[in-house]
Symmetry: C2
Subunit: 296 residues, 2 copies
């Protein structure tokens, strides 16, 4: 067990599905991790604060430390929604239980971590999609905009497009293909009416569960799946090249769909892609040392 | 003022924006009309019942009759959502204040009315889009499926696609065009963040307010608008030809966007288009005489 006077740091990565806290010592070595529930600050602010404290508490336990150590921690967080102006001011006035707390967007900490604290670019493609580049100490975001208006090429976008395509096939407007059979089988449904009733209020995550199978069918040359994957990948390719435009930055791909969608990217983009050096928790911890970057 | 023993009929057309009741005499002549609030039975059931009674009450007043005449009325209604199974059984068990009440989908009454009680096909393209044909005493629907999963070529679809295109232009992924200027000017906004914040929770009707300007810009050859209108119209054209396929039926176009979108339809479709003979209220009233059709 460590003594209370050891300076300790915490880096937090918070999003819609979970909140991860990693405890670092003064030299930046990982001591432990704690994982708690969702932490999308724009969607559910009070729950985000609960998840942050809970993830830190679990990390302390996993390091053999008690909750009394919390008051000595320097905490940096990257949170989905943290840079929405109204959310950001609430975060700044939070009476947190730590020695210090600062937060920025999860895109910032992910990009900073991915390039080991250096300049670079990032594409996140999971349930949603967005890109960013960190250059001259400034983060610039491209794409995103959410399920209703953007996030093209994301898991949610693929899933919804496949459901819409299935409805068109059931209407007799396009030929039925393996893609449509997959959608109906996976959801255990056999009619338009049932498909609409089941999916009309589905969350982005629910739509995104269809995405891996869509990409697999594209690799098996199902024409409907192939058209969707080509359209989504073409958008993401354009988004990445726009993000890299006029720079010599490298790009890191993150998110659940990244490994499978990379196959469809242009050679021009693929030669700029590198592996991540560290995770978003490391990025959040490291940003504590450059507080001018810990902003929105 | 008429006596209570005159047999009177009411035809109702209920949708998301309003509920219209038309009072007919035994010979089918229009006596009066009453208009009340929204009557989407699937979205807001209890309010639908309120709107139905209110529209009938207003029609009675406009004919110089009192509410005591209500108990003698034979009422037929076409309502959005009336054929959703759970909604339909609720409508059947409604303790209504009329002599009789029966309801079917608004698509059925509109199609039946449009062709004067004969077989025919219908495209409705306003805030949403859907098509149907009435043949061999059976209504078959094509398309529709709502804002999230379908309704392609509708006002809401055009509006959302224009907002998404504007965000892509502001991201530098496609050239800025008059379409994007129109979207920003009409909404009084000047940034991606403001556009997302304003429109991310917008209703289908709010998106649809952009549609007339989009079609106008397409006629002025704005490339972004033209691409959207061609895509939406191509879908609707295919939907209509699918609806007519294997029949010699005529098609009636209804809804706010119908007059302007017809310009983009194929010659093959346009030669099948005819003018409506009567409105959906007439269709609902007339269906009372063929109760086997007043079903879902």
């Amino acid at each position: 067990m460590m003594t209370n006077n050891t300076p300790l740091y915490v880096g937090i990565d918070g999003g819609g599905s979970k909140c991860s806290a990693i405890l670092f010592n003064a030299k930046g070595a990982v001591l432990s991790q704690g994982i708690a529930g969702s932490a999308n600050a724009a969607r559910d602010f009070s729950n985000t604060l609960v998840s942050i404290v809970e993830s830190v508490r679990l990390a302390l336990i996993n390091a053999g430390l008690g909750s009394d150590s919390m008051a000595g921690l320097q905490v940096g967080a990257g949170l989905a929604g943290a840079c929405v102006p109204s959310v950001n001011s609430q975060l700044k006035s939070w009476k947190h239980p730590f020695a210090s707390f600062s937060a920025t967007s999860d895109l910032m900490t992910a990009c900073y971590g991915a390039h080991g604290g250096n300049e670079g670019a990032l594409l996140i493609v999971g349930t949603g999609s967005s890109a960013a580049r960190m250059q001259n100490n400034k983060l610039t975001q491209f794409g995103g905009h959410g399920f209703v208006l953007g996030d093209k090429g994301s898991g949610a976008w693929f899933g919804r497009a496949a459901v819409a395509s299935t409805l068109e096939a059931l209407d007799g407007l396009i030929p039925l293909s393996d893609l449509h059979d997959m959608v109906l089988n996976k959801l255990g449904l056999n009619s338009s009416a049932a498909l609409v009733q089941t999916m009309i209020n589905a969350s982005p995550s629910q739509f995104a569960t269809l995405a891996p199978d869509i990409i697999e069918l594209a690799l098996l040359h199902d024409l409907s799946a192939l058209n969707l994957v080509k359209e989504g990948a073409a958008y993401l390719d354009k988004l990445c090249l726009r993000t890299l435009h006029g720079t010599s930055l490298s790009m890191v791909l993150m998110g659940g769909l990244a490994p499978s969608i990379e196959h469809w990217f242009s050679p021009e983009l693929r030669q700029r892609i590198v592996k991540a050096q560290a995770g978003p928790e490391w990025g959040a911890m490291r940003l504590l040392q450059t507080p001018e970057l810990m902003a929105c």
